[in-house]
Every structure is written in structure tokens, then in C-alpha cells.
Amino acid sequence: MAESAVLSVASKPTVSTEMVTALSRTLGEHPGALAWRLRALARYDALTLPNRTEQRWRYTDPLALLPSAEALLRKLTSAASGSGNETAQQAAAEWKRLRDDEPAVLLMPGDGPRLNAAAEAAGVAIAPLWQTDADEELIGRAVPAAAGLFAALNGAAWNAGMTVRIPAGVELDQPLRIVLPAAAVSLPRLLIEVGPQAIATVIEEHCGGAAESRVVSVTELLIRPGARLHHVLVQRWQDGVHGHMTVRGRIERDAHFSSATAAFGGRVSKLDLGGILAGAGAHSELRGVVLGDRRQHFDHHTLHHHLSGNTRSDIDFKVAMAGRSRSTYTGLIRIEPDAPQSEAYQENRNLLLSAGSRADSIPELEILTDEVSCSHGATVAPIDPEQLFYLGSRGLGTDEAIQLIVRGFIASVMDRLPETVQTTVAELVSARLVRVTGGI
């Protein structure tokens, strides 16, 4: 199997006012959207590439994640003219596959998102992003256009956007599944509001694509007081995809955000994932399982930003790298001066399954008040040969032993996945483990 090389663009792609204006018009957006996009565009124009001397970009070249100007122009004009949209075709294929397989609620931008009857009856509302002025007060609350180059690019030029509103007090027993197939260039944007006291599971599934696909996605999750959101991000892109994903949960008073990432695919994949603890009693948990092989490059950044006191955050990120794959994890915990009695825990463990793999882990702490409880831990280690010998002495060959050890290693994350997605993720883990142990 051929391994694709990292192909970087020479500079950040240009986006023009005309492109953005035409795009917004064709998508039938509310006029407010265009104004917001143009402000994001001004940001984008003003921003230089991220500084490679900063920890967060030290190991990953931003130019490897950006589309070329030509590809972007082609994409945006095709979306604007409404023709040749390969995302829609891919989405339709995915939709078919998934609909046959399971009864879960399915949503998909680019293919006329649909809800099943149960979700509709519960009052869940979905719509293309910003077709009414109701989105004005929501957009940018978790991921402002000023958040960085990728947030600004997506803010100016998202080409498939969707708003999901879960009304107050509603408890959804089936997950909402949002499938985001990668096209040559994809700039999806999701805005999800979980109303006060509501309980929901949202699966964000990044899939598809081809060599050279570029994805710049943004997901904003607004978790209202007392609400509980289980968010699951599955990244199972095809081999050659390069992408940058931003996910932020804004967690209000007594609300709970629990996010699990399962990343397997793509060539270069960067995820910027975070929780903003904005009200007392807010609780955020971020978990991750990353399994890489061949020459894959993964970069995960987590942020827990404690704006309010009496908040709690917890991170458990497990990374296993095989072949010549590489992983970087940076985890920032920031506790503001007026956020006392906060608790923040962060743990990132990396298991190297081959001599050629590599993992780096860098905690970043900005604790601006004393009255907090905070801990962090990071380890990078190869598989313990004594474990292999012990399992070997019980009849388990190296491949089987490694599979068992890796499953044990990620168990703390797998065990805490919502039940409705456990099987799906377990199958992806199994498939990857078979590939990984075959290739050791």
C-alpha cells in the first residue's frame, strides 16, 4: 500500500470578498451571516501563519492542513453555483450505508439533513446554519472567528453549515449522528445548542475523502445550564486526508460536557478540542483514543478554560502509535484568577508499538489562582517486554499480546463511551489493531 507524502501548500490561500459574498448568497443565508463572514475574512487576512516556535504548532506544519488557493476557489465557486458537489454524493452514499445499518438519528449537511421521527417529536430542530437571525446570538460564542487562522478561515468560508437545537428539558435516548464526509476541500461548521436541563448524545463523524482532501471544520457546542451533552468525535478519514478540526463546548452553570475522541484516519490530522467552563458547577471531561500507524501524523490539543469557580475538568487521552506514525499532544489548563475552588486533571499516556513511531506530550498550565486542585501527567513508553513475555508464557503470540495490551491501555476511554457508540468504536479499534499488528 502506497504511503502518501505530506503535501503542503506554499502559503495560506487567498479568499476574496466576492467569493464569500457569492457563497453566502447561494446558500440562502440571512444577511447577518454575510456580515459575520466578512468580519471573519478580515481576521483571516490579518492573521499570519501560526508561529512554529509555539508548543502548539511545533510539530505540525499549518501549511500541511490548508487547502491550496485554487482548490479552495474551485470548491467555493462550485458550492456557490450549486453544481458538481461531490460532498453531496459521498454524503448520500454514507447516508445509505448508515441508514441500512442502524436506526440512529442521522443528520448530514450537504444532503438535506434529516431527523428520525423520535427526534422530531422531541422537538429537535435542524436547519442550515444561519438561515434565520436566531443564529446570530449563538454563532461564535464557543469558537469566535478571532480564535485563530483555522477558525477564521472556516468562519469566512464554511460551505456546509448546520444548526441543531435541542429544546430545554428534552432527553434524547438515541444519539444524533452527524456525518461529515471529506471532499477535495471541506469547510463544515456545526452549531449545536443543548437547552437547559436537556440530555443528548451527539456523534460527529468525520469520514471519507481521498489523497489531497483538505478539511477545516468547526463545531460549536453550547451547553445550557443543567444540560448534559455526550459528544463523540470519530475521525475515520481515508488515508490521504489532511485536516484541522476545532471543537469547543461552552459549558454553563451545572452543565456537563463529556467528549470522547476516537481518531484513526487521515494523513495529517489536527484536533483542537476544548471545554470552556463558564458557570459554577460546570463539569467537563475529555477523553481520547488515538491509534496511528504507517506514516500518519496526529496532533491533538486540548483546552480546559476555567472561567468560573467551582468547576471541574478531567482529561484522559490515550495514544498508541505504530509503524512510523507520530503523535503530538499539548494540553492547556487555564484557570482564571476569579475561578477559585476549581479542579482540573489531565492525563496523556502514549504507547509506542514500534521503534519507528514517536509521541510527544506537553502539558501547559496557566493557573492564575491558588485555591485550586490541579494535576497532570504524561508518559511516553514502548510496550513493556515483560508484559509480552508474561502473555507469551500463557500462549499468546506477539500480535495477540499487543492487541490485548492496547485494548487494556485504552479501556479507560472505551468503557466510558456512551453505550450507543461503543460497538461502532470497538469495531474501528479492532480493524485498526489488526492492521497495526499485521504491520509491526
Partner: protein, 271 residues
């Protein structure tokens, strides 16, 4: 029918080195079906190194011959030796966090039998083993050796032996760190597993377990060599006198006189 003249397990002139340090300096063992042998020696004499090398630890440089039922196995990796019927009870069992005892054991039993053991059948065997060793059923869901007490680890080693039904079991200090009740339970397990078609080598530096598990032959292992072999009374003598009296000179001489005792024990086992 098994060939009674052929030992179930043997090693010949076994030499084991790690990082160019010679630890085992030529060991010979012949253990027949139905026998229990004890290998006794002071701390640091190389007993665990010998045991790990026999099981196929990849870090050691091993010279000499290892035969299981007449088949040379010294070139085989540990998992193949295990599938052929060898078992090593570890002095320090290794933790594998996140892997439950039940999942691990089912994989191990399936590997040993060469086919997936059905869940129901496996549970029956597992719970029978728990009962025999007075292990709580909640063990099934605990992570393998993770946070286990010394005694819990040793019981689990014996449980594994009961389930895997090895033809040749090497038990490395399975008795150490056990209180008297646990020692009895573990000994019962060893006696339960022992039968006319398998063999056991108990590695220990105390005589204590030999009150419960009666060895046919006792070997004294010092500084990488078997310096003396004899009947069970040798263990008693070691208990009374320690190892110091067995300096090499007397050992060599004693070895000759004791050959008769070993031969007698072997004959008894064959007969």
C-alpha cells in the same frame, strides 16, 4: 502410551547469560511424568533466570538443549512453548492494566487448546477454579495483576495453571510472600494439578512449601549450577543447616554419593 524411559522434561548443559553476564553455568535436569522436583537455592543464585530462560524469555542468551517430551524447544518463542504444554508461574507476575482476568484467561485457554473456548464452558471452568482456590468471583472483572496483593497474584498464577493444564509446570517462588492459609491453598492447587501425566518443578528458597507439596527429587542450585541432588530429606537438611555448608568442594563430592538416591527416585517414578 508415554515412553517411560524418556523424561517429560529435560535440559542439558543449559547456560544462560544476560548482557554478557553468565548467570546459569550449565544446568542439567531430567523430570519424568508423575514427578515433582524442587529446585532450591539462595537468593541471587540464578533460579528465576533459569526458569525464565526455560520458558523462552527473549532477553537471554541461552546455550544447551531444552526438551519437552523429547522435542527440542530451545529455539521456540515463549508462546509456542506454552502451547506445547509448558507453564511458568512467575515470581513477580506482571500487571496488564485494563485487561480483565476473565478476558485474558479466555484468550490464554483458547491459545493453549488451539480453538476458541465457548464462553459458557469457560465460565464454568473459571468458577470451578475460583472455588478450588477460594478466590472471589469478583476477580474475573479485575484487571490482570493490577493492584493485586502478593497473595492474590500467587493464587492467580495457580488458577492459570489449573485452567491451562500444562504438561510441565515451573513454579518460581509461588510460595514466597504467602501467609500460612494462602500457602495451604496454593499447595492444594499444585497437588490438584499434579497427575501421572504431568510434571512440576517448584523453585523456592524456603523448605516451607515442601511440607505440603512432597517432592520426589530436590536439587540445590547455587551460583548458576545444580550442586547437589537428592531425595526429600535434602530439603530438610537445607532447612536445618542453610546453604553455607554446601560449598563447592563438598557439593561435588556429595553429588557423586547422591546419584544413587536420584536414580532410586527416578526408578520409583517410572515404576
Amino acid at each position: 502410551m508415554t515412553d517411560q524411559r524418556r523424561p517429560l522434561f529435560a535440559c542439558r548443559n543449559l547456560r544462560v547469560a544476560i548482557e554478557d553476564k553468565q548467570i546459569v553455568k550449565g544446568a542439567d535436569l531430567e523430570i519424568y511424568a508423575g514427578q515433582k522436583h524442587a529446585l532450591m537455592g539462595p537468593n541471587g543464585s540464578g533460579k528465576s533466570t533459569l526458569a525464565a530462560a526455560l520458558m523462552g524469555h527473549p532477553a537471554y542468551q541461552v546455550e544447551g538443549e531444552i526438551l519437552l517430551e523429547g522435542k527440542p524447544i530451545q529455539e521456540l518463542p515463549a508462546h509456542e512453548r506454552a502451547r506445547l504444554g509448558m507453564f511458568l508461574g512467575f515470581q513477580y507476575p506482571v500487571a496488564v492494566p485494563g485487561v480483565s482476568v476473565a478476558n485474558f484467561l479466555r484468550a490464554a485457554v483458547s491459545a493453549r487448546r488451539g480453538e476458541a473456548v465457548p464462553i459458557k464452558e469457560f465460565r464454568r471452568e473459571l468458577f470451578a477454579g475460583f472455588e478450588a482456590l477460594r478466590i472471589d468471583r469478583s476477580f474475573a472483572g479485575r484487571y490482570l495483576n493490577d493492584g493485586f496483593s502478593g497473595g492474590e497474584k500467587k493464587r492467580l498464577e495457580i488458577l492459570q495453571m489449573l485452567l491451562l493444564k500444562p504438561s510441565f509446570a515451573l513454579l518460581d517462588e509461588t510460595d514466597s510472600g504467602l501467609d500460612i492459609d494462602a500457602l495451604k491453598v496454593v499447595s492444594e492447587g499444585v497437588n490438584l494439578a499434579a497427575g501421572p501425566h504431568n510434571a512440576t518443578l517448584l523453585v523456592t528458597h524456603y523448605q516451607r512449601i515442601l511440607d505440603y507439596v512432597k517432592p520426589d527429587v530436590v536439587h540445590v542450585f547455587m551460583d548458576g549450577r545444580i550442586v547437589r541432588s537428592g531425595g526429600p530429606e535434602l530439603a530438610v537438611e537445607l532447612e536445618a543447616r542453610g546453604y553455607d555448608w554446601l560449598d563447592e568442594a563438598t557439593a561435588i563430592e556429595a553429588n557423586e554419593t547422591d546419584t544413587a538416591a536420584v536414580a532410586a527416585a527416578d526408578t520409583a517414578a517410572k515404576g
